[in-house]
């Protein structure tokens, strides 16, 4: 009867529930909605998915076209002299036609068409490309900022940069790769290695621990001084199902927290003692979870032992 009343206010109402409802109704919601922000607060409909790639593609093709034009155009510094081949039957020397007079400050260009770009040209080209890319990025940012809810949607963050100290060659890596593919190959190798390690870390945290050790300069075969939080969590997570089962068996409430204090032996990684703390100390539920925790195998470490408090949420 009372259950129906709780569910949909039908059936016989129990007096304590009615009193409860009446008392709590003083906290009921009643304030009308205040002023809503203007239309600039509204989120714009999402841009079509093709907008950004198309913009980037157009920008890149423009940059490449510029690059090609820049490479193919004859040099403009100094006067140019196009040498026309002499007529086949003529015995006279080839006809020299001056195209432009050399500026007084620059040396007359007597050199033939350059076969390969000089270092200065490469540098200029690099700068021009970098500028073009920067302009493109700025255009993309500006395009996003044109959304009415600019304050809400942050402008696309620049890609995370690694500190310059660790990888100085990354700064102009793209251009360097084009100009000198051997350097590019070296960078590719280093690039491939790191993500593999990270993925391994996610899939198998035990591997991650090993990876981290080598990164910090610790000998791979040596033991850590003590367990890290990730080691503890990785090991304890396997006990979670057992702890939940204890909760179901011994009347633990969903969401209830049971904190277990345990001692781990460094030489073996085994749990030497485990007890529930607080209100679960010496209760069937606490004992059950403590017994479950006692079965945990941790990685070994240098210290003699380590004390840990671990909370289980049922």
């Amino acid at each position: 009867m009372g259950e129906d009343y709780v569910w949909d206010k039908t059936g016989e109402a129990e007096t304590d529930l009615v009193a409860l409802e009446r008392t709590l109704s003083t906290l009921r919601h009643g304030r009308p909605l205040g002023e809503l922000p203007g239309p600039q607060g509204m989120a714009a409909p999402p841009k079509p998915a093709w907008a950004k790639p198309m913009l980037l593609g157009a920008g890149l093709s423009a940059a490449l076209t510029l690059l090609l034009i820049w490479i193919l155009l004859p040099t403009t510094d100094g006067a140019k002299t196009h040498t026309l081949p002499a007529p086949a039957r003529s015995t006279t020397a080839a006809l020299q036609i001056p195209v432009a007079a050399p500026p007084p400050t620059q040396r007359p260009s007597a050199r033939p068409q350059p076969a390969a770009p000089t270092a200065a040209q490469v540098e200029r080209l690099t700068r021009a490309l970098q500028t073009a890319i920067a302009q493109l990025q700025a255009a993309v940012v500006e395009l996003d900022a044109m959304r009415p809810d600019a304050e809400r949607i942050p402008a696309p963050a620049p890609p995370p940069r690694r500190p310059a100290k660790s990888k100085p060659t990354h700064k102009s890596g793209g251009i360097d790769c084009i100009l000198d593919p051997t350097r590019c190959a070296v960078q590719e190798k280093t690039k491939v290695k790191r993500p593999r390690a990270d993925i391994d870390c996610i899939l198998e945290p035990a591997k991650c621990a090993k990876h981290d050790k080598t990164r910090t300069g610790e000998p791979a075969d040596g033991l850590p001084d003590k367990l890290r939080t990730t080691d503890i969590k990785t090991a304890m997570i396997k006990r979670k199902a057992g702890a939940k089962a204890c909760g179901a068996k011994h009347g633990g409430l969903p969401g209830e927290k049971v904190v277990v204090k345990l001692s781990i032996e460094g030489a073996t990684g085994k749990v030497t003692a485990a007890t529930a703390t607080g209100k679960h100390r010496d209760t069937p539920l606490g004992r059950c979870i403590a017994a479950e925790v006692s079965r945990t195998q941790f990685p070994r470490f240098k210290r003699k032992s380590l004390g840990v408090q671990y909370p289980f949420r049922l």
């Binding site: 709780v6 949909d8 409860l20 003083t26 906290l27 909605l33 509204m42």
Partner: protein, 192 residues
């Protein structure tokens, strides 16, 4: 028995109609209609209020409700499924409650009773609310929605997107646990 089934059917139809209205209102609000958004506020305001009341200090809840709906209004463009407005705005409310809790933590020497001068009834209500807040997560929100906001079980299920079965079980167990705690003396005003 047949009558009960018939009543349930009617209730179900009413819920489906209300949900359909809410979906239309959510779509209109996405198109920029303030009137439609106000309609959503009228429908979902009590639910959001209950979620916040179950987590945040009672004195802050009214302001937090406004904040939640302003955020929702700004982000309506992000809502992909108009039928999921309830669970979406509920998640905004839960995050807001956590934020409010974090903001208050370092400077909270007084309890909320010190900030308002409660009437006798309000003081009782706040004391009971404290007991509800100590219940497991799964029971808190449905209990506040049912007993503070006066929503029915089917309405709670419809607004939150939970199944009717879950809401029914949580309400039933929550009431049992609340009765036990209140009988144990928790929630009397002298407790604070």
């Amino acid at each position: 028995m047949a009558a009960a089934v018939h009543e349930d059917d009617e209730g179900l139809h009413a819920d489906v109609d209300a949900l359909a209205d809410d979906i239309i209102a959510a779509r209109d609000a996405q198109a920029g209609s303030r009137a439609a958004f106000r309609k959503l506020y009228d429908g979902y305001g009590p639910m959001v209020h209950a979620i916040l009341l179950a987590r945040a200090p009672a004195t802050d809840v009214d302001d937090l409700v406004q904040e939640v709906f302003v955020v929702a209004w700004r982000r309506m463009g992000e809502l992909r499924d108009a039928a999921a407005f309830g669970s979406w705005v509920a998640s905004i409310a839960r995050h807001r409650a956590v934020d409010a809790h974090r903001r208050r933590r370092p400077t909270e020497p007084l309890t909320e009773q010190h900030f308002r001068t409660p009437t006798l009834a309000t003081a009782d209500a706040l004391a009971i609310l404290q007991v509800i807040r100590k219940l497991p997560d799964a029971y808190r929100e449905p209990l506040v929605m049912r007993f503070v906001q006066g929503m029915t079980g089917p309405e709670i299920a419809m607004r939150t997107g939970m199944t009717a079965g879950s809401v029914r079980v949580n309400l039933h167990r929550g009431v049992q646990l609340l009765r036990t705690r209140l009988a144990d003396g928790e929630g009397s005003r002298s407790d604070g």
